[in-house]
Subunit: 318 residues, 3 copies
């Protein structure tokens, strides 16, 4: 989808009187191209303004001065709310239109499986009953989808993967702007999910599509059941997540990380390579790799054990 | 379904020798009408006995004296267990009988979608592959059901809602009476779920139907993935629940409450308007609105932070 | 599936020069029969070596001396990794081949339900839309499967059970061996799940099949929604698990155990009969029956309450 900036400005009720340009998407200040719209609503990213390549930016009048001359400012006091309204313009149109997928040899597809348009399957793909593959989904060779898996539009699954029943990949990330009246306005999630080769995902997991760009699960990672992966997470190679783990948005796990059952992260943080988070642990800030952490807020497990022992002594002394 | 009280008494093996009446349902002492059966099994509700409008009440002989003359007492030492047996009489009969729904203009319904009887859809409703809508479900205009959503009988979904894949709405609440031998007898959940307008519910959530009356999710509320809403919860307008939140039965959240990821409530309590519960928090009693809480049991977040700091000092002092 | 031991050795790149035998499966040292392969990778099970009835064992050269003369040693430094490769030989072959089930009278099966081969249903079984029953699944009389339930191959469901929507039974347990390069090699889960009579399982639960033998949910147990039961768990009769409970592998719950919402166990432990684990509790070691526990690590609830009170005093004293 492409709109002129003047069309977008009109939809958002914003002033615009410049040389019009074509806009074909939305992205962050750091990632946006000259045909994309971006937004600025957090002072900590001000340093990115002079360097942005965005065609246009939703921004307050004060910070607009920091933009390069090649970037058009759309002035607003509510850039994040305007972003939300703009995101709808680029949302995928859902429909029941179905088309036979392109597929390699030796695929075994149950007759009840439903496809959107433009689906591509490799060789020897097995898709059992009740699965749904939305528009432009791709699935690599030798991958197995167990019954009742849902892959939203644009999801890319690698080779030699196993996806267990009830798992949903590519559902919308949880992102909203808020009006002054306390209403929540959906930020349409126009990114996707990429699952690399040799990944296994358990049953009834949820992997959210990115708001921009991709949520990524890297090669060789294995997820257990009932796991939540929020939008824009990046899960390193050969990482293990036990059941009921929850990763908040933009969590970056390194390679060979181990997350114990029911552990979680707070989002926008990084867990280093070869770290272990014990079961029920809650990570609230970035953690150095190669160590084992426990508790909430998560600390090194030896510290956590001392905390438990200290608590127990307090009780015993009374 | 309607039964005479004498039929019900016979089924429950209870004595009844009075003027027979017709009973068409079961409800609480406070809510039951003169054509409904109620029950009394908790002394803290004794104050409701003189005021009940119930046609009949399952009750012990001592408390029966407190009932108004217009209410018939069915005397039993095990009123809750008898309630469980009675609830089965009013349970919905499940079947595969299917009927084309009534629908407004511009609906887009995948051919694999299965309907019970008496389903009503508004205009411009989109229902993708593999969804199931049970008997007498209604879905408001412009609402989208992503693939593989299940709506049990009697579920009411409002306008402009989005329900993501794998979510189950209207499944049975978790309610059992217990025999003296330690067996659990199902209390059939004969209420329903009402989802108001502008609600978004993430993937693989579960929203239980009410035992009596309705579980309600009010206007503008947004739920993330893998969330459990138990029977008879009432979630206020514009409330936000992050992934893996769990609300126990009869929790009442106010408006614009924010529940962090993996946080939970213990049920039969109230969280005030504009409260925030931090991630992993566990609410064990009703909380005043407008504040931020954390920890388990949840306390004000500034207190929780002091507790964590105190624990850390205990460790460092050794 | 049956292989000669020489075939298996060749596949695993192991030396074998003895009297060849036929191998038809894999099991633990304690349970393997003379036609099964076993493995030894944990010194704490060395006491089982002299008594094993296994036909052959993957084992290091030192411990191999402890095996009875009737058992063949397949010498390897990486017995667990070799086990993983061997497990694939015995994995069930997935396919979309479908066959009408054998069924008793008065069954009500939605036309969208998909069956593998060799499915057997009792009388008066109700299966609603979108369910999948894999090869050799059996379902007892009077059992109800709500829409979109998935039963993997070999799952056995008893009589008078209720399985709610989106629940997945028999998905693979989470078991991997690890290469020296940090890659994870799937241990194919060749056991199954057995659900006894009078069990109710809520919506969007996941019950993993056993790696060997069966994961068992015993008579009269009731599970709420979004619960994870890992491979080889054994859940006693009349046990109750509230929503979002997670049981790690080989957990044994006694009879009439109560697990509160979001509580969990660490696996390979036993919770005694008539125990209660409070909500959010985390069980890290075996617990004596008849008591109530809370916290993480779970302790008796009265101790946990004292710990919370002590923490609160620390804060108030400052």
């Amino acid at each position: 989808m492409t709109y002129t900036l003047s069309q977008i400005s009109k939809t958002l009720n914003l002033d615009f009187n410049g040389n019009d340009i074509e806009i074909d998407g939305i992205h962050t200040l750091a990632e946006a191209s000259s045909s994309q719209l971006s937004f600025f609503n957090d002072a900590k990213y001000a340093f990115q303004l002079p360097k942005t390549k965005a065609g246009a930016v939703l921004i307050d009048s004060e910070h607009a001065k920091l933009l390069p001359v090649s970037t058009i400012a759309l002035i607003t006091d509510e850039p994040y709310l305007k972003l939300a309204y703009a995101s709808k313009l680029f949302a995928h149109t859902l429909s029941t239109v179905s088309e036979a997928p392109k597929m390699g040899s030796d695929c075994d597809i149950d007759e009840s499986v439903r496809f959107g348009s433009g689906v591509v399957l490799g060789e020897n793909v097995t898709i059992l009953a009740g699965c749904y593959l939305g528009d432009h989904v791709s699935v690599g060779s030798n991958t197995i989808l167990h019954p009742n898996v849902t892959l939203y539009h644009g999801t890319k699954i690698g080779r030699n993967c196993i996806i267990h029943s009830g798992t949903v990949i590519g559902c919308d990330g949880y992102g909203f702007a808020h009006t002054k009246q306390g209403e929540h306005v959906k930020i349409y999630q126009n990114g996707n999910v990429v699952v690399e080769d040799d990944v296994e995902i358990g049953a009834n997991c949820t992997v959210d599509r990115a708001v921009f760009g991709s949520t990524v699960i890297r090669r060789g990672t294995k997820l257990d059941n009932l796991i939540q992966i929020a939008h824009n997470c990046d899960i390193g190679e050969h990482t293990l997540c036990a059941a009921q783990v929850g990763l908040a948005g933009s969590t970056k796990l390194g390679r060979n990380v181990v997350m114990g059952g029911q552990s979680a992260t707070a989002g926008h943080l990084e867990v280093g390579d070869f770290s272990t988070i014990a079961g029920k642990g809650g990570v609230t800030k970035s953690l150095e790799g190669g160590k084992t952490y426990a508790g909430f807020p998560a600390v090194e497990i030896k510290v956590w054990r001392k905390m438990q022992a200290a608590l127990m002594r307090l009780v015993k002394n009374r």
